[in-house]
Subunit: 192 residues, 2 copies
Amino acid sequence: MAALTGPKQDRSRATRQRLLEAAVSCLAEHGWAGSTVAVVAERAGVSRGAAQHHFPTREDLFTAAVEYVAEERSQALRELPAVGRQEAVAALVGLFTGPLFRAALHLWVAASDEDQLRARVTELEARVGRESHRMAVALLGADESRPGVRESVQGLLDMARGLGLATLLTDDRARRDRVVAQWARLLDEALG
Amino acid sequence: MAALTGPKQDRSRATRQRLLEAAVSCLAEHGWAGSTVAVVAERAGVSRGAAQHHFPTREDLFTAAVEYVAEERSQALRELPAVGRQEAVAALVGLFTGPLFRAALHLWVAASDEDQLRARVTELEARVGRESHRMAVALLGADESRPGVRESVQGLLDMARGLGLATLLTDDRARRDRVVAQWARLLDEALG
C-alpha cells in the first residue's frame, strides 16, 4: 500500500479542509437552498471534480462540514484550562452562537422536510449531541451518578440551543448574559 | 359607516381564519421555500384574489399566520385552571412543539437570510416573546420583583425553545420529560 502521508496526502487533506470550511460558511450565509457542491467548490477555489472526489453527494459534504466544525469547536473547549462553573456555562452557551450554529440550524430545518437528508442529520445530531454532553460534564465537573445531575446538564444544553436560536435574528447579548449568569447559579446548586 | 358585523363580515372573518390556519400548516410541512400565497389559497379553498385581498404580500400572510396561531395557543394556556409548577412548566414547554413551532422555526430561519422578512419576523418574535414571558410569569406564579426570578423564567423559555428544536427531527419525549421534571424542581426552588 502507498504511504498515507507525503505531499500529495497533505494537499488532499488541505483541499478537504478548505471545502469543509467553505461549506459551513456557505450554509450559514445562504441556507440549504443556496448551498450546493458547485457553489462551495468555487468558494474554496477547488475544481468541481476534486470536490466530488472528496464528497460524492451534497448530503455528504454538508453533514461532514457541520461535524468537522463542531469537532473543532469541541476540541477548543476541551483544551480550555480549568475554569469556574460560571465561565464553563458561558463557554458552553458560546457553542450555540455564530456561523457553526447558523449552519447547523439551516441543515436541521432542511432535514425536517427532506427524507434523504433527515436520516443523515438525525444521526449526525445524535453524535454531536452526545459529544457536547460529554464535554459539558467534564467542563462543569459534574458527577452524573448523583440523581438529577444528568438532566440538569441536558437542560443547560437545551437552554443554550434556545438562546442560540434567539440570537439568530437579534443580538440580545445583554439579556443572554443575565440569563446565563442566573442559570449558572441554579446549576451550581444542582451540581453541588 | 356600515355595520362591522353581519353575514358578510362573518364570511370574511372565516376566510381569513382558514387562510391563517392553512398558512401555518403549509409552512410547517413545506418550509418557507414551498410556501406562497397561491399554495395557501388553494389549500384553504379560497381564490387567489380573495387571499390577496386579505394579505397583500407573502410576508403579510405568513407573519400574521404565526402570530394568530401563537395567540390561540397562549389563550388556551391562559384558560388553564390553576396548576402546580411541574404542570405549568410542562405546559410551557408544550408551546414549543408541534406544527406552530415548526412553522415559526421555518419563518425564523428564512428571515435570517432575507432582509425583507427579517424586520417583520424580528418584530413579530419580540411581540410573541413578550407575550410568552408574561404568560409564563402568570402560570408559574412568579414574583419578578425578587432577584433572579425574571432571568430564571427567561431561561426556562429558552430551554423550552431548545427542546422544541431537538424534537424537530426525533421524538425524544422520554428524555424531554426527564429534563423538564428536573428543571421544574430547580425552578421551583429559585422561584420560592
